[in-house]
Structures are given as C-alpha cells and as structure tokens.
C-alpha cells in the first residue's frame, strides 16, 4: 500500500497532523473554544474554493483565509464582549457564504467534495511540501508560545502579570489554528476537522493526568486514529474523513469505558479491604 506515492504523501501528512492537531486542540478544548475549531474549519472551505477559482494551491489559500477569519474572531471579541457566540455566527456566514457562492457559480473545474470529506488520493507533492513548511512554522510557534498559552488558558490575569501580551498571543494562536486546519483539509476534510482537533484531547482528558501527559496521550490517540483511518479507508475505498471521525468517537468511548471499569474496580477493592 505504501509503495504508492499518494499513500506516502498521505502518511507523512497524517503523521504531521497527528502530532500538531492535539497541540492546538488541547488549548481550544481547555479554553472552551472547541466551536472555534469547527467555525474556522468551515471558513477554510472558502479559502479552498477561492484557491480553486483563482488557480492557486488550495491548501495555501485555505491557510490565508482561515488565518484572516481567526484574526477577525479575535478582533470581534472587542465588539461582542458578552455575546461571543455571535462572532462564530458572523465568521461562519462569511466562510460558508463565500464557499457556497463560489461552488454554486459553476466556475470550478475541480469537485469540491474531496475537500469536504478528505481524500488520500489528492495529497500531491506540492501539498506535502506546503504542509511540511506550515508544520515547521507551527512547531516553532507552538514551542515558543507553549508556556504563555498554558497560562493564558489556566489563568489569564496571572499571565498578564507575568508580562504575557495576551491579545498578541491570542492573534498568534489564531494563525496557528489556521495553519493546522489548512494542513488537515486534504486528509480529514472540512466537515470533521473540528472533531479531529478536539476528540483525541477529550479522550486523553479522561485519563486524569497533568498537562504534558494529557498532551502526550492526545497525540498518541490522534496518530492511532489518523493512521488507522488512512489504512482502512484505502482498503475499504471510502473517504478518510468520516471514517477517521468514527474511529475518534470509538477511541473516546473505549477510554471512557476503561476508566469507568478501573474506577469501579478500585472502589470494589477499597470496600473489600478490611
């Protein structure tokens, strides 16, 4: 299977995404911003369609449109301080509105469906190089912002007192989210990016560990889901996006069940010890 170049491309992209997406997702989940991931992934579709329309690489245009949308969310926070969910509705309208308008115009020579559901056949070498380039920048940014992001998430006031420029970091984080989302479009598709950013983190949080261990297990779960999703979608001849999302739900349910059994056993042992 991996003798095919498109599978090699998809595997490398999956490995990169598997490590990076929980790195972003953990902050989205803990900031209660899981829906921002979903909104921006839908906004990325507008970037894809604009790329296809203008003849530019869709991964790159998705990154640009999503980064602008992410920055717009941060900016609109000042206007809609108390009704922040309205911001998501605005950005969703902008993104989905643009995408539907472009798709329905009949001007696209490529089927946009592959970007909705993901397609392992379509990860080209150029896509892979763009993904690797974005990944290098994202890893560096994440490494640099890691401590700041943890503290903004845990206690933003304390972060400010320690000298963290919270607003600036939030803008940088929007670009980071945009970067990871645009990397994920080819493999998992727009429809399930939000889920793939957050479900591995949700599963890891069930383990009740500290931040580093939760992040570590999120990466493990994410890699398992993406690689297994890739292999099985190859053999079953189905779009990888939907199946990977189903695997993510399955992993979450399994982890929850194992943790419940473990807790019940611990209680039983404690009761039966004289």
């Amino acid at each position: 299977m991996f003798q095919y170049q498109f599978m090699q491309n998809a595997l490398v992209a999956s490995l990169i995404i598997g490590i990076l997406s929980p790195g972003i997702g953990i902050f989205l989940v803990l900031r209660r911003q899981a829906m921002i991931g979903d909104t921006l992934s839908h906004a990325s579709l507008a970037g894809v369609t604009l790329g296809l329309l203008t003849g530019h690489n869709p991964v790159l245009t998705a990154f640009l449109f999503t980064a602008v949308s992410g920055a717009l969310i941060e900016y609109l926070r000042l206007t809609f301080r108390r009704y922040s969910e309205l911001i998501l509705a605005v950005v969703l309208a902008l993104g989905v509105g643009t995408a539907i308008t472009v798709i329905s115009s009949g001007q696209l020579s490529v089927n946009a469906e592959q970007f909705l559901f993901g397609s392992i056949l379509t990860v080209s070498r150029l896509d892979l190089y763009i993904i690797i380039g974005l990944a290098v920048i994202s890893f560096l940014m994440l490494g640099f912002l890691y401590n700041q992001l943890i503290y903004i998430t845990y206690d933003a006031d304390a972060a400010k007192i320690a000298g963290v420029r919270v607003r600036l970091i939030n803008y940088a984080f929007s670009v980071l989210v945009a970067s990871v989302i645009s990397m994920m479009i080819r493999i998992v598709g727009v429809m399930v990016i939000g889920s793939m950013l957050t479900l591995p983190v949700a599963a890891a949080m069930q383990l009740g560990k500290g931040f580093r261990k939760t992040l570590f297990w999120s990466v493990i779960f994410s890699l398992i889901e993406l690689i297994l999703g890739l292999i099985l979608s190859f053999y079953l001849n189905i779009a990888p996006g939907g199946f990977t999302a189903l695997l993510a739900v399955a992993v979450l349910l399994i982890v929850m069940a194992v943790m419940r059994v473990q807790t019940a056993l611990a209680r039983y042992r404690a009761r039966s010890t004289p």
């Binding site: 401590n147 503290y151 304390a158 007192i161 000298g163 500290g210 261990k213």
Partner: protein, 215 residues
C-alpha cells in the same frame, strides 16, 4: 510603594462613580486590608492597581511591576483542568524567568513540598489557595495583592495563610494589599485598614476601625 490620588472610576467612564475621589498612600512593608460591603468596589480597586483597568480620572502610581497576585479561587481554571501542582508553578516560573530554587522555596513556604505531582483539582480548597499564594511568592516580589484569600477555606488553612502573610510583611518587608471579608484576620494582621463605602475610601488603624464599627 503605591500612591493613589483623586481616583475616580466608573465602568461607563461617567457618573455615577463606583470609586469616588480615592486617596491612598501605601508605604513599603505595609499590610493593608481593604474592607467594604459587596459591590463597594474592592475588587475593582485592586484591578486598577494591577493595571487591568484604567482610572477614569485621577492618578495611580505603583512603584513596582513585580507584583504577586492571588486571585479568588473561582477565577482560576476549573477543577478538572489537567495541570499538576508542579506544572502550575513551573510554567509561571518560566514566564517570569525565575530559578528552580524560587519554586522550591515557594512550595516550602506553603507546605506543599512533596505534592508536586498531584493534580490541582485533587487539592482541597485550602491547598489550592496555598498553591496560588506559592505562585505569588515566587521570586520574592516586593508587593503582593490578594483578593479574599480566606474565602471557602478551613480554619486551619486560614491560620497558616495569615501567619505566612504576616511573616512576609514583618520579616521580608513585603507590602501586602488584601481584599478581606475576614474582619478578624484583618484586625489581627493588618498594619492599616482601608474601608470602602459608598464609593469613598477611608484609611485607619485596626483599632480605629473597631472603635468606629463596634456598636
């Protein structure tokens, strides 16, 4: 250490004022408890001192940017936030570019040594408060600002916390500003009381405060 003169504040930037013509001068080593009813502007005042809010009118000068801040526990991450005691302190230590020894000594101050690997959510209310105090103490800042440090905490932990604050003020010369609901602790430990009522402030000694407020 702190100089407040003719401070007016309102969230709408116009009257009615939440804080009305406040004046306060805090000397290094002072331990000032800020008292007042709910809604009297105590927390707003400390948010101005911390630089989170701008005065609508008047001047506020704080001589140091190195401030230890202990927020109310309910304002800090959820109980299920996946963070260990060590991670909570070490991440903050790195942000402030302090040494690992600063972390160790802060843990010793609040008696949390040996509990570094525990999740913050598994600590009792008193221990969580001590953790926030340890964070504020790291690097020995000259000024510590606390927002109701004893709310929802058992009496034994309250005693530990106030003994520590008193020690920091008397022995290390740390300036302490503490918004208080605990009148008894404020009387026992503070050098001065700042009483906020109807938007206005009044500074006095604990003895004067008791004389004015005991029927």
């Amino acid at each position: 250490m702190i100089d407040i003169s003719s401070l007016f504040f309102s969230y709408s930037d116009s009257p009615p004022w939440l804080l009305h013509d406040l004046d306060l001068r805090v000397r290094p080593g002072d331990y000032i408890s800020v008292l007042g009813d709910n809604g009297s502007g105590k927390s707003t005042l400390i948010r101005i001192l911390l630089g989170f809010l701008e005065p609508t009118r008047g001047n506020v000068r704080v001589d140091t940017k190195d401030i230890g801040y202990v927020p109310q526990r309910r304002d800090v991450g959820d109980r299920d936030f996946p963070l260990t005691v060590y991670e909570a302190l070490n991440t903050f230590r790195r942000l402030k570019k302090l040494s690992p020894d600063d972390l160790k000594s802060a843990l010793q101050h609040v008696d949390l040594t040996g509990r570094e690997a525990e999740l913050i959510g598994s600590l009792s209310g008193g221990q969580q408060q001590k953790l926030l105090i340890a964070r504020a103490l790291m690097g020995d800042p000259p000024l510590i600002i606390l927002d109701e440090p004893s709310t929802g905490i058992d009496p034994a932990s309250q005693k530990d916390i106030y003994e520590l604050l008193s020690h920091m003020s008397k022995v290390h010369g740390t300036t302490i500003i503490s918004v208080e609901h605990n009148i008894e602790a404020a009387m026992a430990n503070s050098t001065r009381i700042y009483h906020l009522a109807g938007g206005s402030g009044h500074i006095c000694t604990p003895a004067q405060y008791m004389a004015e407020h005991t029927p």
